[in-house]
Amino acid sequence: MIKINVVKAYLKKEFSELVRSRLIIMVYLMPSMILILFGYGIKMEVYNVRTAIINYDKSQLSYRIISAFEHSRYFTAEVVNLPEEKALEMMKRAEIDLLIIIPESFEKHLLKGIKTEIGIFVDASFPFRGLTIQSYAEGVLLKEAQEVLQSRPSIVINHRNLFNQAMRDENAIVPGLLGIVFLVAPAILSALLIVREKERGTIFNFYSSPVRKTDFVIGKLSLPFLLHSVNIFIIFLWAAYLFKVPFRGNFFIYWITSEIYVLISVSIGLLVSIVARTQIVAIVLTVIITIIPGFLYSGIVMPISSMEGEAAVEAHIFPVMYYNHIIYDTFLIGQGFSSDKNLFYFFILIFYWLFITVIGVLLLRKELR
């Protein structure tokens, strides 16, 4: 059985070391900082797009289009009297992001029903931003043209945004960030707690003492687990009150899933510290194997349902996808365990944790290599 005294002794030792070196502040600062910075930082909307318009037409209609751009908060538009090459040169120097060219006798052609063209040039060296700008610009132009022609479209799109009615970036992004926060922070802490002993050589105390592997692992890992269990509540408060993300689900489900997820992260730290011998390797390794899947395969930037091939396989290998599915549900959807998929993912997470921990304990050696 687990020797409670051994675990307690380890807990006490690690905790007092953490408090003495004031690292405890960092344990609570880092997750909140990640959440706040990225929560405010990642914006899918783009404002004040630097726009240049070349107007060859100088008609009422072209001025109308220009003023539509000037009055939109998405654009900072300016009419430039430059030849096209000069304007493109400006884009090359990253001074403008969007260039619109209204051709000669645009209005005349339009009213006569002859096909005319408007040139839109977008800087797509930042692809997603480029696409967003393009769709904004096309939207403005088509809307103006339609109003002038007084042609009503035959189909109106009546769209409802489920789960995030206002299309707030915060609602879409903040719950997803939890998957990164609780994967990175506990893993770094738990990885370092063991590797530090390796680097300093104090790990020999463990090798030579009658402490058993399981006790050692439990003793070492319970501290990051307990400390980050508090973070689960702190992070929730930030998400719900600072970012005002609605919470529609069951708090118990949020809490229990997060605890299991923190356990997974802590055991990833255990795996890293078995492989690594120095702290620096452990840090870099942990950051790389947690942040990247945390972003890529979490569903924040790309929905899991649109993945295919390698990406889909990799997404299913990492725990983030399962956790985030449940977290998005607790925040935005609120089906809880009445949905089979949530329940299934919940068991996958439990299984995942048991699997990693068992592997970690099996691989941990109690002797000098």
């Binding site: 070196s21 690292l23 960092m26 880092m30 900082m33 910075l37 990225f38 990642i42 914006k43 404002y47 090359k92 120097r93 052609h109 339009l110 029903g113 096909k115 063209e117 408007i118 839109i120 040039f121 977008v122 060296s125 930042f126 692809p127 997603f128 480029g130 696409l131 769709s135 096309e138 939207g139 088509l142 022609l149 189909i155 109106v156 799109i157 009546n158 769209h159 409802r160 945004n161 489920l162 789960f163 299309m167 609602n171 879409a172 770094i188 802490l189 370092l192 702290q279 620096i280 840090i283 870099v284 390794l285 569903g299 930037v301 790309m302 899991i304 349902s305 990799e314 935005l332 949905s339």
Partner: protein
């Protein structure tokens, strides 16, 4: 000079002796960038669509036939709205389309409504998908519409995200590795107590600090060449419209200013755990203010001023310009100068803070 070279090579040897570290750095500069680049797309690609069709008409089929790859997966038919909603709630599909039973009749009377349910938790794709749908419907309904928008996406014609993302990943790996490596060379000695002995040697402490940092910069530059050569050019076929030499010089200046940040971290941190946490905490604002997530011109004016302090801002802009836009070096002098100044200032601070005993 001799002292400089001795310390410089000592650090290089130390690095190459630690196989684990070499492996991790190599992995980050190759496999990791590859995974990130291949991994995902931000534009609507392969979006999963489900529909319920009560109209059973020609028009609805025609609209659905416009939803094709690569942007959309083949639309899945659901028999009732409940089933469609269930799939949306389980997030098996992203877009649900409902055709009313009167849809076809209304279409000819020009008052048709297309009900679209959008999973907006994926806001990024949500925006663009909706715009895309609107475009399809508009073009579909208005074949005689006389205005044609000729859109050109410059510098990256297909808005290829892998090209961009692999570059972005390379930038973040470069930043991460430089900060951590160059702070660790100092903190390791601090932890084992040999740093004081280094400073007691009859060599100018500035030379020791510079030699130590430049050894790490050299390692990072090797990583850069490997990453850009094999992964960015080899796998992702990134264009190089500007000058490659200018890119290398810019990278050198950037790693110089980032290792200045590492120096700052080293002067504050007492052990490796602190390095890990401090570097994450310092790097996040730098990345945040660099304009890689929110364009700088969309930021709050105060943040725009602050972003001038982020070295990544100059580097990203410079890299994008050199790789994609093909800007000439002379138009980028601001970026070179800013990185140089930031580096010098950070080093001045480092010299004062950790170049002295006690």
């Amino acid at each position: 000079m001799k002292a400089f070279l001795t310390v410089f090579f000592k650090e290089l040897i130390m690095f190459f002796r630690s196989w684990g570290l070499v492996a991790v750095v190599l992995y980050s500069f190759t496999v990791d960038v590859y995974i990130a680049g291949k991994g995902f797309e931000v534009k609507p690609k392969n979006v999963s669509v489900g529909y319920v069709d009560f109209s059973n008409g020609v028009i609805s089929n025609k609209i659905l036939s416009h939803l094709h790859s690569p942007e959309f997966q083949k639309p899945v038919r659901f028999l009732s709205e409940e089933e469609l909603k269930k799939a949306l709630f389980n997030r098996d599909i992203m877009v649900g389309i409902v055709f009313d039973s009167d849809f076809e009749k209304d279409f000819f009377e020009k008052k048709a409504k297309l009900n679209v349910l959008l999973d907006a938790t994926a806001a990024a794709q949500g925006y663009v998908t909706l715009a895309y749908l609107q475009n399809i419907v508009l073009r579909f309904g208005e074949e005689s519409f006389p205005v044609e928008l000729k859109t050109h996406k410059l510098f990256n014609q297909n808005a290829d995200t892998p090209k961009f993302l692999s570059l972005a990943e390379f930038l973040s790996i470069l930043t991460l590795i430089t900060v951590i490596l160059s702070s660790v060379v100092f903190v390791k000695e601090k932890e084992s107590g040999t740093w004081d002995i280094m400073l007691l040697m009859p060599v100018d402490s500035k030379i020791i600090i510079l030699a130590k940092s430049f050894s790490q910069i050299a390692i990072v530059m090797i990583g850069t060449v490997i990453c850009v050569g094999i992964i960015l050019f080899g796998v992702f076929k990134l264009p190089m419209n500007g000058s490659f030499t200018a890119f290398l010089i810019l990278t050198l200046l950037y790693s110089f200013s980032t290792s200045g940040i590492g120096l700052f971290v080293a002067s504050v941190a007492k052990n490796m755990l602190q390095v890990a946490q401090l570097s994450v905490i310092i790097m996040m604002p730098i990345i945040f203010l660099s304009g890689s997530w929110t364009p700088i011109y969309s930021m709050h004016p105060a943040l725009q001023k602050l972003s001038l302090l982020s070295p990544l801002r100059y580097y990203i802009e410079g890299c994008e310009s050199l790789f994609f836009r093909g800007t000439s070096v002379f138009d980028l002098w601001v970026n070179f100068l800013a990185l140089f100044i930031l580096g010098v200032v950070l080093y001045m601070f480092g010299f004062r803070k950790i170049g002295k005993l006690f």
